[in-house]
Amino acid sequence: MSELNTSISLTQTYPAKFNALQKTGLTLTGIGILTIFLAWAGAGTTQPLLCLLITIIGLFSGGILYTYGTYGHLPKGIKNNRNFISSISSGGTLAWISAVAITGFYVVLYWRDHWKTVFGTDIFSGLVHMFDPLSQLLRKSDADQWFVYGSFYTIAVLIMGTKFIYKYRHNNYQILRTCSVMFFQLGFAWLIPGIMKALYNFEPFYSYFWPLDYDAIFPGTLSYMLDRPGNLGVFFIFWGIVMSFIATPLLTYFFGKRWYCSWVCGCGGLAETAGDPFRHLSDKSISAWKIERWMIHSVLALIILTTILILVSDVIGEHLKLSINQYVYYAVLIGLAYLVYRGIAKSGSQMRLRPTMIVLGCITGFLILYALIPNLKTGDQVVSFSTAGLAKWYSFSIGMVFSGVIGVGFYPIMGSRVWCRFGCPMAAYMGVIQRFKSRFRITTNGAQCISCGNCSTYCEMGIDVRAYAQRGQNIVRASCVGCGVCSAVCPRGVLKLETGPDNAARTEVLFTSEDLKILV
C-alpha cells in the first residue's frame, strides 16, 4: 500500500522503554533459548536433564516475568499500544528474522531423517536427547523429534496463553477460551498421548479429526488401529468418525466453528496464544479474501477426493492410476498456465499485492508444480499419477509444508492464522455449515459504530468486520473463528458474539438510518 504515504514516517520514532521486570524476563527467556542451542550443539546428549531444566525454567519464568512487567502496572483493559511500532509485531526486521528462524527450525525438524542422510550424522540428536528425561518420565521411552515438537508446542501454548490471559484479564470470554485451548493442548495433545504411549505403545490424539487429521480414515491408519491392543484402536476410530460426521456439524450448528477453532484445536490454540502479538498483520484486502476462499475450499475438495480415492483403491485392491500421453499432459500444463495468466491479468489491476501474498503465492505455485511433476516412465511416453502419489503429495505439501512450516513460521509476517485461514480443510468444512446453517453470528449494536477500524485490524482471519458493523449488519462469515477479539477491541461496544435463531442472524441490515425514520 505504498500510495498511502506517511504511515512509515509515523511509526519510526519512539523507542521501547523496557522496565526492570521486562528486562529480567527477556534475559531469562534468552537463557532458555540459549540452552536450547547449547543442547542442540551437543550438551543435550551429555547433560540432558540439566539442559532441560534450565530451558523449561528459563522459558516459563522469563515469560511470566515479562508478562507481569508488561501488563502488571497497567489497569485492566485493551493493551495494543505499540503493536504497529515494535519491530517484532509490525513486520519489521525482528519479525522477518523470527519468521526465518522458526521456519528453519521446522524444516530441520520435519525432515530429520533426510538431513541425516545429507550430513551423514543426526544434527538434531542433541536437542532430541535433551527431552529424553521428560519423555522417559511421561512415555517410558526415549524422545523422538515429534515429542520435541509437541513439547515445544505445548510450552509455547502454556506460556503465551498465560500472557494472553493476563493481557485480557478484564474479559471472561477470552480467559475461558484460552484456559480451554491450554487444557486441550496440555491434556489431549501431550499428556494423554504420552501416557497411552507408556501404557500401550500407541499415541492417539483425541482432539484432531478428519479432515484436519487427514489420514485418520486412510486404510493404513484403520488397519493400524485395528491392530491395537484391546478395543483402544476401535474406540479411536469410532471416536474420530463420531466427531467428524456427527458432533462437528451439530456443535457448529449450535455454537459456530469457534467451539473447535478457538476452544479446542491445537493449531488454533497456538495461533491464539503464541500468535496473538501478530493477529493484526492478517491481510484484509478483498483480493486476499478471494485467494482465501479459493485455496481453502480447494484443500477441502482435495482431501475429500484423496480420501475417497484411496478408500476405493483399497476396496478394489489396487492403486487407481491415471495415465496419459505425455503430449496431452504438456497441453494440459500449457492450458493451465494460460488460465493462471488470464486470472492474474484480469485481477491484477485491482489487486494490491503485498510481499506476504507474493511469498504465499510462490510457495503454493511451487507445491502445485511439484504435484504436477509426473512419474515419467522412460520409454513408453506415458505420464502417470496414482492415488498413492496423491496421498503422498497431500501429506507432504498440505500436511507438512503448509500446516506445519508455513502455518507457524509465517506468524510474524502474515498474522497468526495463515493455515486456519488459507489451508485448513476442517475450517473449510465447518465454515460452510457456519455460513449457511448455524445459530452463531456476531451481532452489530444498532448504529453505534464509528468506523474506527479496530475490529477489522485485529481480526486474525482478515475479515473486514467494520464493513458490516458500519452498515449495522450482523456478521455471518464462513471464516470467523469466534475468537471474540473484534468485540473486545471495539471501543464503542458494537460487537457481540452470540447464538440465537439462525434466521434472525441473517436479517440483512438491522438498523439503518431508514429505521431511524429519516424518510418522511
Binding site: 509515523l10 485493551i78 474506527c452 477500524g453 485490524t457 440465537g500 431511524l516 429519516i518
Partner: protein, 446 residues
C-alpha cells in the same frame, strides 16, 4: 447533473454514497485534508500504534473508482453561488449543479496568549496527528491538555500511551459535567486520576509561555501556577469550519444555516454535518450536532434533497457512545447533566467505580426518557424500540436483561441494579424478568 461535495468526512462521503445509490449523476468530492476518507475518530489509535493510517480508511482505494465517485484533493477558497462555481486556492475552478458543504469543524482557540507557539495544537485533522508526531518526536517531559471533553481525554491517553506525563486543565468542577450528570462525571474524574493523570479541575489557562525559538516551554494556569511542558493540547471544543464562506451570499451564523431539508438560503446549496447549524433545532437536540452518526444521517438526508426527493431531517432518538480510557460509555434517549423539571432519576454505580447506570424518567407518568451506561454495553435497538413505544421506567427495569450486550461469560449486573432500585423505591418494587423472556425479546423476529 453534477453534484459537488466539499469535505470527504463521514458526512460528505455518506452523501456521495447515497447519491450514487439513488442516481447515475456525476459526483465529485473535494477535500484538502487527505486523498481518501478516513475515520477521524481513530486518530488516537494511529498515534498509539494500534493501527496504521490506512487501517482507518473504511473503504479501499479502488472503491471510489468502482462507484464512480470523483475525488479531488484541493482546498476550496470561495464559492460563487451566482455562477455556480467553486474556486480553489490555486485559482482553478469547478462548476456544480448542486453543492453540499460538509467541511466539518476545527479546534477552538480562544485567543490565549501564546496559542500560536510551536508545540501548541489541537487534535482534529490528519495534519494535527502529523504535527503531534513531530512535536513529540524527540520525547517530551510533560504535555498539558486544556479543556476536558472527549477529545481532551483522547489526547491525554495518546501521550500517556507513550509514557509522557500529562496534566489536564479543566474549567468545570468535574470532568465533562457540562454534559454528564455529576455522579458519572465524578466517577470519570476518579478513573482519570486512577490512571495516573494529573487532573486539575476548576482550572483554566491564562497564558502559554514560549522559549527563544518560539517553542512552548510551559503554561500559566488561572490559579497562577507555572507548569513546564513541551506540548499543549487545545481541546476546548470544536467550531464549524466555515471561514471560506464568510462574506459570501451563503447565510452563516456559528455554522452554515440550514432548514430541515438541509438546504441553505441558496436553492442549490446544502450543508450537513459538523459545519451545519439548523435554523430551528429539533426538540431535545442542539442546533449544531457534531457527532459521527448525525453526520451520517445528515449526509444521507442532504443527498436525497439534492436529488429532488424532499426529505425532512428526522434523526429519531438520541444516542451516542465514547470511551474514557478503559471505561466505555453509551447513552440512549436524553440524559442531561441536570434533571429538568418534572424528571426523576435513578443511579446505580458498582463499588469498583467503573460501571454505572443512570436512568431518567418523567415523574408524573413514569415515562422512560433516557439512560447512561458506563462500563457495560447495552443494546441500541432494544432501547430505541422502548423509547418509540413510550415504555415506562418500570418496564425498562423489568426487562433490563434484554438490553445486556456485554460479551458472553461476563458477569451480569441486572440483579444488583434492581436490588438498588428496590431499596430506593419500596413503592415501586421491580421483579426482573427471567433470561428466557429476555432472549425472546432480543430475537423477536425469529
Amino acid at each position: 447533473m453534477h453534484h459537488v461535495i466539499i469535505g470527504n468526512g463521514i458526512t460528505g462521503i455518506t452523501a456521495a454514497r447515497t447519491l450514487r445509490k439513488l442516481s447515475d449523476d456525476t459526483i465529485t468530492v473535494i477535500s484538502g485534508e487527505t486523498d481518501y476518507f478516513f475515520s477521524r475518530t481513530a486518530l488516537m489509535y494511529i498515534y498509539m500504534g494500534h493501527m496504521r493510517f490506512e487501517d482507518t480508511q473504511p473503504y479501499p482505494p479502488e472503491f471510489w473508482k468502482k462507484n464512480r465517485i470523483n475525488l479531488l484533493k484541493k482546498w476550496v477558497k470561495q464559492v460563487h453561488v451566482d455562477s455556480k462555481l467553486i474556486e480553489f486556492d490555486n485559482g482553478d475552478t469547478l462548476e456544480y449543479d448542486t453543492l453540499l458543504i460538509a467541511t466539518g469543524a476545527q479546534s477552538n482557540k480562544f485567543g490565549w496568549p501564546g496559542q500560536d507557539l510551536k508545540g501548541v495544537q489541537g487534535l482534529y485533522s490528519y495534519q494535527d496527528l502529523l504535527e503531534l508526531e513531530a512535536n513529540t518526536r524527540n520525547g517530551i517531559n510533560r504535555g498539558v491538555i486544556v479543556g476536558g471533553g472527549l477529545i481532551g481525554i483522547e489526547m491525554a491517553e495518546m501521550l500517556h500511551a507513550r509514557k509522557y506525563p500529562v496534566t489536564l486543565l479543566v474549567r468545570e468542577t468535574n470532568y465533562w459535567n457540562n454534559v454528564l450528570p455529576e455522579q458519572e462525571s465524578d466517577m470519570i474524574s476518579h478513573h482519570i486520576r486512577h490512571h495516573g493523570f494529573d487532573l486539575r479541575l476548576n482550572e483554566t489557562l491564562t497564558e502559554i509561555l514560549g522559549d527563544a525559538q518560539g517553542r512552548v516551554r510551559g503554561v500559566i494556569t488561572g490559579s497562577g501556577e507555572e507548569i513546564a511542558c513541551q506540548v499543549v493540547g487545545l481541546t476546548a471544543g470544536v467550531a464549524p469550519n466555515i471561514a471560506f464562506l464568510k462574506g459570501g451570499s451563503i447565510n452563516v451564523d456559528r455554522g452554515v444555516v440550514i432548514n430541515q431539508h438541509m438546504r441553505t438560503n441558496i436553492e442549490s446549496v446544502f450543508a450537513a454535518g459538523d459545519c451545519a447549524q439548523f435554523q430551528h433545532a429539533l426538540p431535545d437536540r442542539r442546533p449544531i450536532e457534531q457527532v459521527w452518526y448525525t453526520g451520517k444521517l445528515q449526509g444521507e438526508c442532504a443527498a436525497k434533497n439534492m436529488l429532488g426527493m424532499p426529505t425532512l431531517y428526522n434523526p429519531g432518538y438520541w444516542f451516542n457512545s465514547a470511551k474514557f480510557l478503559d471505561i466505555e460509555y453509551q447513552t440512549y434517549g436524553t440524559v442531561l447533566n441536570k434533571l429538568r423539571d418534572g424528571e426523576s432519576e435513578f443511579y446505580w454505580e458498582h463499588p469498583d467505580r467503573e460501571k454505572a447506570v443512570h436512568i431518567v424518567y418523567r415523574t408524573e407518568d413514569r415515562l422512560f426518557i433516557g439512560i447512561n451506561v458506563f462500563g457495560l454495553r447495552m443494546r441500541h435497538d432494544i432501547f430505541n424500540t422502548w423509547l418509540q413505544q413510550g415504555k415506562s421506567v418500570d418496564y425498562v427495569l423489568t426487562h433490563l436483561r434484554a438490553a445486556h450486550f456485554d460479551p458472553e461469560f461476563y458477569r451480569h449486573f441486572e440483579d444488583a441494579v434492581i436490588q438498588s432500585w428496590n431499596a430506593q423505591h419500596p413503592n415501586h418494587m421491580i421483579t426482573l424478568a427471567d433470561a428466557k423472556s429476555a432472549k425472546k425479546m432480543i430475537f423477536k423476529n425469529a
